[in-house]
């Protein structure tokens, strides 16, 4: 058996409504349990772990989907566990194991040696044990339902006929979703809500003329709650403003080559 992780739906021309409704029904089973989101320990641990995963993604040139999947496993696993204190190696072992599991699900080869070249080294046996622990905690449901699973469906609602426009929309929405994974607040929202929000933003950026049509067709979907969508929209808007603000700050440093600016830039570099 084999299957497509990114797009579990077949062509919607065949109107397989049982599959669509099943996808929406089961998405809640692939998110972390709600109770953990209020825990400070959970947030701190996950932020540090995500940072490490993204470092590995850059240094090993991983498929972004592998990193995204690994972060999903991390959230689901840590939301079902007590975070151990006084074991600094635990975080790194969890990160390596989540990346390993994600790469296996995506059927890409990822050597333990490569992802561990910085920092302490774990034996294959230790990683295997952690992998089995994570698999058990996630009930072996590793084909996570992520926002990417819903993009095709929502795009199809708008009845866009231009294929290149569809593809551009999907690409930009995916990019927004990848960038959003840094913010842990998004965990409060279901993958379908995140997908819908990302598409609305993408359409506004790329195709302002189509924006109102697409937004109307998405918000009309029976599977989405309007109020929740609105809150998610506000959160993502804040995130994108922060992102833009950071870019502006970088730009403003470059525009003025005064001694004060150089000093500040040097400080920033040291901090990084």
């Amino acid at each position: 058996m084999e299957f497509d992780l990114e797009d579990p739906l077949v062509s919607l021309e065949e109107e397989q409504t049982f599959t669509i409704s099943e996808l929406f029904a089961s998405e809640s089973e692939h998110v972390p349990s709600p109770n953990c989101l209020t825990s400070t320990h959970f947030r701190v641990f996950c932020c540090e772990a995500i940072s490490l995963i993204l470092q590995v993604q850059v240094s090993c040139k991983l498929d972004p989907f592998v990193a995204y999947l690994a972060i999903n496993y991390l959230h689901r696993f840590m939301s079902s566990q007590e975070i151990p204190q006084g074991k600094p190696w635990f975080l790194r072992l969890v990160v390596i194991s989540c990346l390993s599991l994600a790469s296996k699900m995506k059927n890409t080869t990822l050597s333990f040696l490569v992802i561990q070249k910085e920092g302490c080294y774990f034996k294959a046996q230790s990683i295997q044990r952690m992998e089995l622990l994570i698999l058990g905690a996630l009930k072996w449901r590793m084909r996570s339902i992520t926002p990417f699973s819903f993009l095709h469906f929502f795009i199809s609602l708008a009845e866009i006929k231009d294929q290149s426009l569809k593809q551009a929309l999907k690409s930009r929405a995916s990019e927004i979703i990848f960038n959003a994974q840094n913010d842990i607040k998004l965990l409060e929202y279901k993958p379908s809500t995140v997908a819908a929000t990302a598409l609305i933003f993408a359409s506004h950026e790329l195709f302002p003329q189509q924006y109102s049509i697409l937004r109307a067709s998405i918000t009309a979907s029976e599977y989405l709650d309007g109020e929740t969508l609105s809150k998610c929209f506000d959160l993502m808007q804040d995130m994108m403003r922060m992102e833009a603000k950071e870019l502006m700050i970088d730009t403003s440093f470059l525009s003025t080559e005064t001694p004060v600016s150089m000093l500040e830039r040097n400080t920033k570099r040291q901090r990084i």
Binding site: M1, E2, F3, E14, K104, Q128, L132, K139, R143
Partner: protein, 334 residues
């Protein structure tokens, strides 16, 4: 003196305990696995292979019969093998009345993954061989409808079965209920796309795979279903009914050796086709598959279509005229 004697006795007791433990270990390792951690009692070994075994078990709590597939984890230098993770993860997402249910997943000694499935009385192979095949036309139709329902469901999730054959079609005899299963062992779905050649299993393999095509999709399962359909009607594997030196020759004798016209792309796929295979004229399905109503024969011909791009889909097959008199009432009455 007394102390020396005590030490000797204590030492002897320790050695006896260790020896007994070794015997228990060797017995477990040699024959039936200890499944008490899974709350199961092992009844018998159903199947053996290089990468694991299949057992018939009794669920201690419910008293129900279950099937446990025990997969040995090999090549642990890279942790838990990817094929195991992928298969289990996939099975966990399949929920359909005509697909065998994975009840739970457990571990033994961090060396074996134990998959516990619901148990069904027979498989279709056993049914055909021992019970003279389902001669009742309505039973054939019902079985076909259920098989196609399961396949259509899998394909809608972009899941291929890839090894459909009668022994993977389980039957709840009293209910005439069909469930698809896959009791292949871990090593048989390695990451490479090439199949291992095994006696008998290639009888259900699609021609594009037999031609060594690496490009295949859902259509391969429809070919297999077509072979199963024919076998239910005639009581033996279709290719076996034809006098031929290999499966591909049998297919070409039956349907005619393909040309660029009948199968666009075949000359690129098999440049030496006409060196290895004569230009057979089609004997025709009706020559071998007798006693099947015309609409059934029509559906069969759409499944056993050489050109994969023209082969019928599972979804479309369910809407074929052959099934026009199949409804839930008649399914329940069976």
């Amino acid at each position: 003196m007394w102390n020396e004697e005590s030490d000797w006795i204590g030492s002897f007791d320790s050695q006896l305990a260790r020896l007994a433990e070794c015997r228990m270990c060797s017995r477990d390792r040699g024959e039936r696995p200890d499944a008490t951690g899974m709350d199961l009692e092992v009844l018998e070994v159903a199947e053996e292979g290089s990468y694991g075994r299949v057992f018939r078990c009794l669920d201690i709590h419910t008293g129900a019969l279950v099937t446990m597939k025990q997969i040995t984890m090999v090549r642990l230098s890279q942790g838990v093998p990817a094929p195991i993770i992928r298969e289990v993860s996939l099975l966990k997402e399949l929920h359909h009345a005509n697909i065998v249910k994975l009840l739970r997943v457990g571990l033994t000694e961090n060396r074996y993954v134990n998959l516990v499935f619901e148990h069904l009385d027979y498989d279709l192979h056993h049914f055909i061989v021992n019970r003279g095949y389902p001669k009742d036309a309505l039973t054939v139709k019902s079985f076909m409808y259920q098989i196609l329902s399961a396949v259509a469901y899998c394909h809608s999730l972009k899941v291929l079965h890839r090894d459909l054959k009668p022994s993977n079609v389980l039957i709840d005899h009293s209910k005439r209920l069909i469930k698809l299963a896959d009791f292949r062992l871990a090593g048989e779905f390695a990451d490479d796309l090439l199949y291992t050649e095994k006696l008998g299993t290639s009888w259900y393999r699609a021609p594009e795979i037999l031609c060594d095509s690496r490009q295949y999709s859902t259509q391969i399962d429809l070919w297999s279903v077509g072979c199963i359909f024919a076998e239910m009607v005639i009581g033996q594997p279709l290719v076996q009914a034809i006098n031929c030196r290999d499966e591909l020759e049998g297919i070409f004798k039956l349907l005619g050796t393909p040309t660029e016209e009948t199968w666009p792309g075949i000359t690129k796929l098999m440049p030496n086709l006409h060196i290895y295979y004569p230009k057979f004229d089609a004997l025709g399905l009706e020559t071998f598959v007798t006693d099947l109503e015309p609409s059934g024969l029509n559906l069969l011909s759409m499944m056993l279509c050489l050109d994969p791009s023209r082969r019928i889909s599972a979804e479309a097959a369910l809407k074929h005229a052959y099934f026009i008199d199949v409804n839930y009432v008649s399914l329940l009455l069976l």
